[in-house]
């Protein structure tokens, strides 16, 4: 998308310039490099955190929130311009679980005390949240979760574990779905809790990804006390909070994802000009490769317009349309296909393990020219794109049921 496609007014241009100036003045080289090196969900934590603090200081900590909680009160067009400029600047990806996921649920289901306590800490970047949903036996079948919360006076006592908790090693809070009762339907008897990570009895086990990165954890709870005042919504009604959050999870960052895809198409285009075809020419001379890249570029163009429409239609604080889930099925597959072409493009440069060189601050040189550093880590990391946040099979079931009425 381009601002010219929005029938821009002089005020729109002025807003665009203001946003662009903000990025130019505040996004450091380290932030940019952290964004560049992000192969899966999140940038190196320190850079995401410092960027959120900069956003907050400017009053743009959570522009899409309702104004009463610190939102920027932008028009749909301004939100699109913001996204376009963000695409252009590429800030590091921050931990979204607080700002984009739990915050809208706190706004909808939280008590006044909870809103007053948690929301300011999220928008300022003081609090970082992890998401405690999946368990070893409850992945796609999330509602079968088992983490026990036993009532004890004003507290719950928690025993069990959560798994695939991204960046829990950096979070100071975690929201969890826990089992408070055994009822006929497994969706009943689930409660949503807001938990401090430093509660006694919480332990982390790091889980390294296929790319060799510490992104996930298993979080163990042993007799962990959580005050009932930290319950979001009613006891045994946590599933409705979870459903609400899942709506945001499907749509959160949809446009950001498309803009990221668009960036990757450009990046791949540059790459094929730099990669050799074995006969002294470049990969660009290979029509087979070019056609495959074109197909993906078309998919990204289409997704871009569709996502822009969703953003333009969205109201601050209102849950997103289920169409987001539909778009995400394609986008995630497109994202993976782009990484597959990237890995193919760099050929034997995909063979070295370059984890050491892929840090914001590092002395380890890249094996090969600079452009070969990322394609293979992207390929490996993006395997998660059709696992995390629900498999394509689950999303297809949801779309069939909720959107198509099958």
């Amino acid at each position: 998308m381009d601002i010219e496609q929005l029938d821009p007014t002089p005020e729109d241009y002025a807003f665009r310039d203001e946003v662009r100036r903000f990025y130019d003045q505040n996004l450091t080289d380290e932030h940019r490099r952290a964004a560049l090196l992000t192969t899966w969900a999140l940038a190196e934590f320190e850079y995401g955190r410092s960027w959120q603090k900069i956003l907050y200081a400017r009053g743009w900590g959570a522009p899409n929130w309702p104004v009463e909680y610190g939102g920027a009160g932008w028009s749909p067009k301004q939100r699109l311009i913001w996204e376009m400029e963000s695409q252009r600047a590429r800030p590091p990806e921050i931990m979204r679980m607080g700002k984009n996921l739990v915050a809208p649920c706190i706004m909808t289901f939280g008590t006044d005390e909870q809103k007053a306590y948690f929301l300011p800490r999220i928008i300022s970047g003081e609090d970082w949240w992890a998401q405690g949903y999946s368990e070893p036996g409850a992945g796609s079948d999330l509602a079968s979760l088992q983490l026990q919360a036993t009532s004890d006076g004003d507290d719950y006592i928690l025993n069990g574990s959560k798994i695939w908790t991204t960046f829990a090693q950096f979070a100071n809070r975690i929201f969890c779905l826990v089992r408070t009762a055994k009822m006929q339907k497994k969706q009943e008897g689930i409660t949503f809790l807001l938990i401090d990570m430093d509660s006694p009895g919480i332990e982390l086990r790091p889980i390294y990804t296929i790319a060799g990165e510490h992104e996930f954890n298993q979080v163990f709870f042993t007799d962990v006390r959580v005050p009932k005042s930290r319950r979001l919504g009613e006891e045994n009604a946590g599933w409705s909070v979870a459903r609400h959050l899942l709506l945001y999870e499907h749509s959160a960052g949809l446009l950001r994802m498309v803009t990221e895809l668009r960036w990757r198409v450009r990046w791949l285009n540059e790459l094929v000009g730099l990669e050799a075809d074995g006969y002294g020419g470049s990969l660009r001379d290979d029509p087979d490769f070019s056609r495959r890249l074109s197909l993906l570029e078309i998919a990204v163009e289409a997704a871009d317009f569709a996502a822009a429409q969703l953003i333009a239609d969205a109201k601050p604080g209102a849950p997103p349309d289920a169409t987001g889930e539909l778009l995400n099925i394609r986008n995630r597959e497109t994202a993976q296909a782009l990484t597959e072409l990237g890995a193919e493009a760099v050929g034997y440069y995909g063979a070295p393990d370059q984890r050491g060189a892929r840090k914001v601050v590092t002395d380890v040189p890249v094996v090969g020219p600079p452009h070969v550093l990322l394609p293979m880590p992207f390929y490996l990391a993006q395997r998660a794109n059709t696992i995390a946040g629900g498999t394509p099979e689950i999303h297809r079931n949801n779309v069939a049921k909720h959107l198509l009425g099958l």
Partner: protein, 362 residues
């Protein structure tokens, strides 16, 4: 007419598979992934005792004198196990010596290659995705070589290198030769360690028949990569099937769901019919040499592509656990990337196959 393997070949497959399942199970592979210590000499010696190092070395030089099909059967079993080790390059150097070496070179090297005492490796890849004999640029003048080569299997551990030269010539260089430098590279597929070689005025020894042999070696290598890919893809289908029969969600094993079982059936339909292509490509190498180059190209292009796709599906169907370092899916996912890249991409070989078929493509 018989398209099946012989009973001897089937027995060979089973014994090699059993050997690596015992000696290099996933727990051992994970140790190699956690801490790569280069060539596992104990495993190499044991596999050499099994006869693998000299499988296709002629009997008069201490080998078993078998054919490429037999080696492909072994490679299939090793692909199944994601077996670590330098056999691919080692066997090809032995083949090059058998086909193009002088009697003196054969007598000097082949018995020690066959016994596994000497580990050999192939140094053909050059900067700029140059893998094929007609792309090699290294030049040896008066027995001296100044060049660089990449993607050399177990470069730090090999004792003998066979280097590809401009025009398709082949030359032997010994580890430790003057002017030879070895740079090891941490690889993503840690079962087949790679390194780069630099030669500065390094003494080398030409194979008298190198030129005629280079393309044969390349074709044999393509067949072996295809065999490894078949073995790994076959294993991947088994692994996802097993997992789908184990993992319970929504009160039943996930293999009950059509969305899952159809993906596994698709993977099987992609992989299993390709087995005969590998066998036939290997068979033609020794029995129908006119057909062999094109079939080798087809097999490599097709199987390594199938392998990459199948491992992706395998990781997806395992969910979170499939995406972790500690779980075994990664061994095959990464091996598939190696097989696809090594000796040139599937596109390169599809194009070669099309050209050899003499189709009018421009």
């Amino acid at each position: 007419m018989d398209f099946d393997l012989s009973d001897t070949q089937k027995a060979l497959y089973s014994s090699v598979r059993r050997f690596f399942e015992t000696e290099a199970p996933p727990s051992r592979l994970l140790k190699i992934y956690d801490r790569d210590e280069g060539l596992d000499r104990d495993l190499w010696r044991k596999s050499a005792d099994l006869g693998l190092a000299g499988l296709i070395v002629p009997e008069e030089h201490g080998g078993a004198g078998l054919e490429l099909l037999d080696l492909a059967v072994v490679t299939d079993a090793m692909g199944y196990c994601a077996a670590p080790g330098p056999l691919l390059g080692h066997a090809l150097v032995g083949m090059a010596l058998s086909l193009g070496g002088s009697e003196e070179q054969k007598a000097r090297w082949l018995p020690r290659l066959a016994s596994g005492e000497v580990v050999a490796s192939l140094a053909i890849s050059e900067h700029g995705e140059r893998w094929q004999p007609d792309q090699w640029t290294a030049v040896a003048t008066a027995g001296r070589l100044t060049a660089s080569k990449k993607n050399v299997l177990f470069a730090a551990d090999a004792d003998l290198f066979l280097v590809g030269l401009a025009g398709g010539g082949l030359a032997l260089v010994e580890q430790g030769a003057p002017g030879l430098t070895v740079r090891e590279v941490d690889g993503i597929d840690r079962t087949r360690r790679l390194g780069a070689l630099g030669f500065v005025d390094t003494p080398c020894e030409l194979l008298p028949e190198g030129l005629a042999v280079a393309e044969r070696i390349r074709d044999a290598a393509l067949v072996l990569l295809a065999a490894d890919a078949y073995g790994g893809a076959h294993r991947s289908v088994e692994l996802m099937t097993n997992y789908a029969n184990e993992r319970v969600q929504f009160g039943r094993t996930i293999g009950h769901f059509q969305g899952v079982k159809h993906q596994i059936a698709d993977a099987a339909a992609e992989v299993e019919p390709a087995r005969q292509l590998v066998w036939y490509a290997a068979y033609t190498f020794d029995h129908r040499p006119d057909e062999a180059p094109r079939l080798a190209a087809l097999a490599k292009a097709h199987l390594t592509d199938r392998y990459v796709n199948t491992t992706r599906t395998m990781v997806l169907l395992h969910g979170g656990i499939g995406y972790t370092w500690e779980f075994h899916c990664q061994f095959w996912l990464k091996r598939a990337m190696f097989d696809r890249t090594f000796l040139g991409s599937p596109s390169v070989h599809r194009e070669r196959a099309a050209a050899m078929a003499d189709w009018q493509i421009n």
